[in-house]
């Protein structure tokens, strides 16, 4: 216990401190230790007690001034925290506005996440990543073959199976129309009995056809496939009547705002980084984060979906980012994979978001989803859907026991696509 005068002084200081109790106690304890030590140090100096008490207390000064001076930095910090929170809320709000953009015409100024743009002709695209509109193109143009090529087969296993059986199997399981120009194929030495060996799992029909065409005949390249009017055509490259899917790029716009919002929110959870940005008035930090995430998405697509397709890797396809939207130009088959990747990102990052999961449950084509033809992809781009992912995990020539399938002699048969998981991941 200190001298009573010291205790009174400390009580007075504590009473004037507008700080939490634990902070008050700590300050009082610290000052008491100082007063006691000073008191002990001057005890031997002689002199009257009141003078010595006065000497020790004078070193601290008036209690009100000391209390105010000690408490000031804590008060400033509290206000700084309030400012940080207010600034963070404001920036989050502004970022939200920036990402979402204005609502559709007629929404009377309300911010909206509604999609805009016309519905896709035919309503066949199930772009779960949400293709939201068209930039500079004619709307309501269906991407040729997109839906057919993205159909996914859980497994195929052929060993020296006749080509005709193989194609019949594709036709049967996918429900996609496949027409073979046998006359032209026979001219290059290929017929229905030409043996085919493939063993693949979780592969798209487009990829399968690509591998099939590449693997038949000496060195491949003797046959090719195209798509037109809801029919996949197989013939020789020179006699193909339908456009090859790799030859034309289509442009699609993917709404990635929900993904970016979710990613930004995650980054903002790094309190230290975020607080530092606000404290230093680095408001560009938010724009930098958004741009950075957009670049990461672009890089992810370029690396994991048909890498040879993209300008980044020397190809003709492009991925541009603008205000929460990805504008992608690539073959239809590649677009299918991009859509799949965007959907996966949305599911992982923003599972509760309507935008990110749009079309996910019902697999219905999103209103406003559309693509435009941009036929400038060179024929050399056979990457498209067919060069990345699990499709290449197992080479087609690996021998395995063949599955027995019924023979199909019809050349131009149409099938009904099976219900269920038709829009499986690419």
């Amino acid at each position: 216990m200190s001298e009573p005068e010291f205790e009174r002084y400390l009580e007075d200081v504590a009473a004037r401190l507008r700080l939490p109790p634990h902070r008050k106690d700590e300050i009082r304890e610290e000052f008491r230790a100082h007063l006691d030590e000073h008191w002990a140090a001057i005890a031997a100096s002689g002199g009257e007690r009141p003078q010595r008490i006065r000497q020790v207390l004078d070193d601290f000064g008036p209690s009100d001034r000391l209390a105010a001076a000690v408490a000031r930095p804590y008060h400033r910090r509290a206000w700084r925290i309030v400012g940080l929170v207010a600034a963070s809320l404001m920036m989050a709000f502004l970022l939200q506005m920036r990402l979402r953009g204005p609502g559709p015409a007629g929404s009377h100024g309300r911010w909206s996440t509604e999609r805009t743009g016309p519905a896709l002709a035919g309503g066949t695209l199930s772009f779960l990543g949400e293709v939201v509109g068209v930039l500079g193109g004619t709307p309501e143009v269906e991407a040729p073959g997109f839906e057919a090529f993205k159909f996914r087969l859980p497994a195929v296993s052929f060993e020296e199976e006749p080509l005709e059986d193989v194609l019949a199997h594709f036709r049967e399981i996918s429900g996609v129309n496949i027409w073979v120009n046998w006359a032209e194929l026979q001219a290059v030495g290929i017929d229905g009995d030409t043996p085919v060996s493939m063993q693949l799992e979780d592969v798209s029909l487009g990829r399968l056809l690509d591998l099939l065409c590449a693997g038949i005949g000496e060195g491949g390249g003797l046959i090719a496939f195209g798509y037109g009017d809801n029919v996949i055509e197989i013939s020789t490259p020179n006699t193909l009547r339908s456009p090859q899917p790799e030859l034309g790029t289509v442009q699609a716009v993917y709404d990635v705002r929900a993904i970016i919002e979710a990613a930004v929110t995650r980054r903002m959870s790094s309190v230290r980084e975020f607080s530092s940005a606000v404290k230093n008035s680095q408001f560009s930090w938010f724009a930098d984060v958004e741009t950075g995430i957009a670049k990461e998405i672009q890089g992810l697509i370029a690396e994991s979906v048909a890498p040879d397709t993209w300008q980044l890797n020397g190809g003709p396809g492009s991925i541009e980012y603008f205000a929460g939207l990805l504008v992608v130009r690539a073959p239809a088959v590649t677009q299918a994979r991009v859509a799949d990747l965007v959907e996966q990102l949305g599911k992982q990052l923003a599972p509760q978001s309507g935008r990110a999961s749009a079309g996910g449950a019902g697999r219905t084509p999103p209103a406003g989803s559309t693509m435009t033809d941009a036929p400038d992809m060179p024929a050399s781009d056979s990457a498209g859907l067919f060069t990345a992912g699990t499709d290449e995990a197992k080479p087609p020539r690996k021998p395995a026991k063949a599955e027995k399938r019924p023979k199909h002699k019809g050349a131009a048969e149409s099938g009904t696509r099976p219900e269920g998981d038709r829009d499986e991941d690419l």
Binding site: E26, I27, E29, E30, F31, R32, A33, H34, D36, E37, H38, D59, F60, G61, R65, L66, A69, V70, R72, P73, Y74, R76, R77
Partner: protein, 113 residues
Amino acid sequence: MEAFDADLIRSSTETIVLAALADEPKYGYQILQALRSRAGGAVGLSAGTLYPILHRLEVAGAVRASWKAGTTRKRKYYALTPKGKRRLRAKADEWQRFNALVESLLKPALASL
């Protein structure tokens, strides 16, 4: 040592406190004792001036405080953090530049007297 002008001291108190902590962690009374032993009464720093500075530096992250039990009482020791060391270097650099400037102004002024 003759006491300095109060305004001169006031503008340098933070630097002086940081400098006092440079060699080892110290508690408040110890800091004042160290300053008195080095500068005599020239730096008239009081407890009432010292503690607000220490708490300000603590809130700013320039010093880190820890309680240690002594023989008769607990004491709150203050130690420089890396941020505090950077701050001390910056202050010292600023002081030296200011000192050089004042000297460069005073020399010709004194010569002309």
